[in-house]
Amino acid sequence: MFTPDRAIHSCYADGTIVFEQQEPKRLPGSNRPLPDSSAIGPHSQLRWDIINHRIYQAREFDSNGYPVRDIDFTSPTYRNGNPRPNHAPPPHQHLWQFNDRQIGVRSGFKRQGGGGSPLDIP
């Protein structure tokens, strides 16, 4: 069994590893994901991996500034680097929804789990 001396967090499609404590800085938001205040219309925010020099994650917003989906360019692994069996391989997507569809935006947002799903390419 491969037993690295550093804990592994996730892995890109080409096998490049992201170690724990080297995860890129999170995208803006606290109570809800925050869109870019200077953006007009639908847009994406990119989470840049300064260690591996590539995009780690993209977050898409609609014209209202509501989050639509995250595209993850890595998938989480076990700490020893083995893939998690119930997680979609990278890249994969997680859709965003209102916490309560009846209430709408005032209820806040939640991000889909389930190990993500294969990327929908329009």
Binding site: S75, P76, Y78, N82, H94, G113
Partner: protein, 131 residues
Amino acid sequence: MRGITISDSTPDGFLAINLIDILEIIAPAIATTQWQITNLECLGTTAEKLYQIADDRQLISSELLLKLVAEITQVIDGKFQGYLLNENQPWLIITAVDSSAYDVETVDENILNQIRQQFQQISELPILLTV
């Protein structure tokens, strides 16, 4: 240290549990535990406060953690390491995994048994040699 993964989901593909659900089950056992939080991404009215604690690498009590996490609606990512006083290795680690699961690792098998009894989708974590 042994561990389990909890992945109870709703029919529409959202994780059915939150961190507070786990902490409340094991609350008596963690009364004297101090927590360090890393790689946090979460949503809720106390998210900013938790970010500040995580980014400053502050150790916080279980009492404060429970209070703050009660106002969190979703933890997308985050590693919560529990330490006993004067110990430099965690005895309990709870990890939120990509809004899809929680891993719970501990040296206390009773904790894992308590959690196994409360949730439905449980799998054993492989032996993880690196903390």
